[in-house]
């Protein structure tokens, strides 16, 4: 521990040097810090990500519980593409292991989309296998937005929808329109989102 004490002493001397060159500041005695007053590492990161959000106008976030940044809702209204003007609701949950673990995002509407299944699971690579702590909340929301502008039939979760998109784009467009008004496609009822 001698080595560490030497390091500490050296740093203290440097700080005192630096303090001397600046104007003197009044010192007060330190009060002990209460134990549970520290902000968690996950919360630090979420706040940073939220402050740095730069979202397209098609995405709105709402916070049903203002006391927590760990849970919020997302509303997506695409301004072009097949899903133009639909109102899609998502729930976003972040756990205390963020950013090691990605946020969990679910679609709350039952919708006709090649990459979203009827339970609301979303097939977006950066939400699972390609998630990395260097990505941010912003990148996920942009990715989600992209999924509605360019549905990807090569990685389907809803196989029928994906097949239709590959075979007959006109029919797919019709199906999307009908489903968004609330109706049956291939015997499955989809929620009204328009």
């Amino acid at each position: 521990m001698l080595k560490i004490r030497q390091l500490q002493k050296k740093r203290q001397e440097e700080e005192e040097e630096a303090a001397k060159s600046q104007s003197p500041t009044p010192t007060r005695d330190s009060t002990p810090v209460n134990k549970n007053s520290k902000v968690s590492a996950a919360q630090l990161r979420i706040q940073k990500d939220i402050t740095e959000l730069d979202l397209p106008p098609s995405i709105k976030l709402t916070f049903p519980q203002p006391s927590s940044l760990f849970e919020f809702d997302l509303k997506l209204i695409p301004n072009s593409g097949y899903y133009k003007n639909g109102k899609f609701q998502f729930k976003c949950e972040i756990n205390s292991n963020f950013p090691i673990e990605p946020p969990k995002i679910k679609c709350l509407n039952k919708i006709y989309h090649p990459n979203i299944d009827l339970q609301g699971n979303i097939c977006l690579n950066i939400l699972r296998e390609d998630w990395s702590p260097v990505l941010s909340l912003n990148s996920i929301f942009i990715g989600l937005n992209f999924l509605f502008l360019e549905p990807n039939p090569n990685d389907p979760l809803n196989k029928e929808a994906a097949n239709c998109l590959v075979k007959d784009k006109k029919q797919f467009e019709k199906n999307v329109n009908n489903s968004m008004k609330g109706g049956y496609i291939d015997g499955v009822y989809y929620d009204r989102v328009i």
């Binding site: 080595k3 134990k35 007053s37 590492a41 919360q43 939220i50 339970q119 097939c123 690579n125 702590p133």
Partner: protein, 426 residues
């Protein structure tokens, strides 16, 4: 009396690489063995090895924390436990075993059966050194952040030696809070949990794991909805998972779905290798010995070991990350007059030249106080602006300030002064 003949020569000779040769003294180095207080976090695969090594080296004051109980599958490598101990606390049984082996008069070893988060800052500040042998990233982040905070709030430097193993691979590292890189600095380098694309699981399974994940992630919810939560410790749940996955595997002609693999995938189990644990624990305890006695230079600061393709070790210095959210900006103390509202406080902060922020967002442990963006959060939190800061947080609370112009999160510990009245109102 115990035999220390193997340790004494190491301490009596001042080695050619001793970095503090002028101040080094045999007697005080020897005394460190009995005076140093060491905390061992985790009494599992690594923990058993670490406790055994420390006790046999001659350290006399050891605390050990573990929240787990002993399981049958632990017994092949966690050698402080016996079949009769199954179901009992790991830390308590490990401490008892060591005490019996070393002799109760020769060692003071205190177990705690619980979570590390349940202990106070004061508890952690009593130690000279912490060694962790944990499998959880969350717990590692917590102890790392706690020790880094102690280094700034109490000016108390407690080295953290972190060991980790995964199959044939492992690492040991020395973290000197605020001096070297911390655990959070290198979080981006952690290997990810193995996951498979949902679309592959849903439509084009190729591996037995895909079938198990299909049962686990998709079918369970369809079958039982969100009301019944899957629990990998309930045998019936695993049985259902196994059968469902097996049926799917048959349809796609995939072989290899077994009950053991099902359990492994659902619980995300990575097989533990006993010898990897002993190698890494040995390295950790060597570093503890060197750090506490100053007999030799300690590891600077990361050693990785790989035993799966022959044997390879590599030692390097992990750099501190300047924008690390834990050690990049150590919390600074700030004194705030009690009459100040959140709005006034924000204006004060903006006036401070060294901080350089224009539109800050502020939160405390209990959640956001004021968020300047997005609009939705700004609307919810703007009511707080007219409230007094000392009504929103208590004395000694930490607040976090972020701003688009700020590459880091600024952390401040707020202390209120007794000025109750705003002089400008008089």
């Amino acid at each position: 009396m115990r035999d220390h003949s193997s340790v004494i020569p190491l301490l009596k000779t001042i080695g050619p690489f001793n970095e503090v040769a002028d101040d080094y003294n045999y007697q005080s180095a020897w005394d460190r063995l009995s005076t140093s207080k060491i905390l061992v976090i985790g009494a599992g695969g690594l923990g058993c090895e670490i406790l055994k090594n420390l006790a046999l080296t001659g350290f006399k004051n050891i605390h050990v924390i573990d929240m787990d109980t002993i399981d049958l599958s632990n017994l092949n490598r966690q050698f402080l436990f016996r079949h009769k101990d199954i179901g009992k606390s790991k830390s308590e049984i490990a401490a008892n075993f060591i005490k019996q082996r070393i002799g109760e008069d020769n060692i003071n070893i205190i177990p705690f059966f619980g979570k590390i988060q349940d202990k106070s800052i004061e508890f952690y500040s009593q130690f000279d050194l912490v060694i962790s042998g944990l499998d959880s990233i969350e717990a590692r982040r917590w102890i790392n952040a706690t020790l880094v905070n102690l280094s700034s709030s109490n000016n108390k430097i407690i080295p953290l030696i972190d060991g980790g193993t995964e199959g044939f691979r492992g690492q040991s590292r020395v973290i000197i809070p605020s001096f070297t890189s911390c655990f959070e600095c290198t979080l981006d380098l952690m290997s990810q949990k193995i996951t498979y694309p949902v679309c592959t699981i849903a439509n084009t399974p190729r591996l037995p794991e895909h079938c198990i994940e299909w049962a686990h992630l998709i079918q369970w919810n369809i079958e039982f909805g969100s009301t019944k939560k899957f629990d990998a410790d309930i045998p019936q749940h695993i049985q259902w998972m196994y059968e469902t996955a097996l049926n799917r595997a048959k349809i796609f002609k995939i072989e290899g779905v077994t009950k053991q693999l099902t359990l492994g995938v659902c619980k995300n189990i990575i097989p533990a290798i006993a010898s990897t644990n002993s190698i890494i624990a040995a390295s950790c305890c060597n570093e503890a010995f060197k750090l506490l006695t100053d007999s030799n230079p300690y590891l600077n600061n990361y050693m990785s070991y790989s035993g799966d393709y022959s044997i390879y070790t590599y030692t390097f210095e992990n750099n501190k990350r300047s924008n690390c959210s834990v050690c990049g900006s150590l919390p600074k103390k700030i004194y705030v007059e009690s009459y100040k509202t959140l709005q006034q406080f924000i204006e004060d902060i903006k006036d401070k030249q060294e901080i350089q922020i224009k539109n800050p967002s502020i939160s405390s442990i209990s959640g956001p106080l004021y968020m300047s963006s997005p609009t939705e959060l700004q609307k919810i939190t703007k009511n707080n602006l007219s409230k007094k800061l000392n009504k929103l947080i208590s004395n000694g609370d930490e607040i976090v300030i972020t701003d688009v112009n700020l590459p880091i999160s600024l952390r401040l510990i707020v202390y209120f002064t007794s000025d109750e009245k705003d002089p400008e109102l008089n």
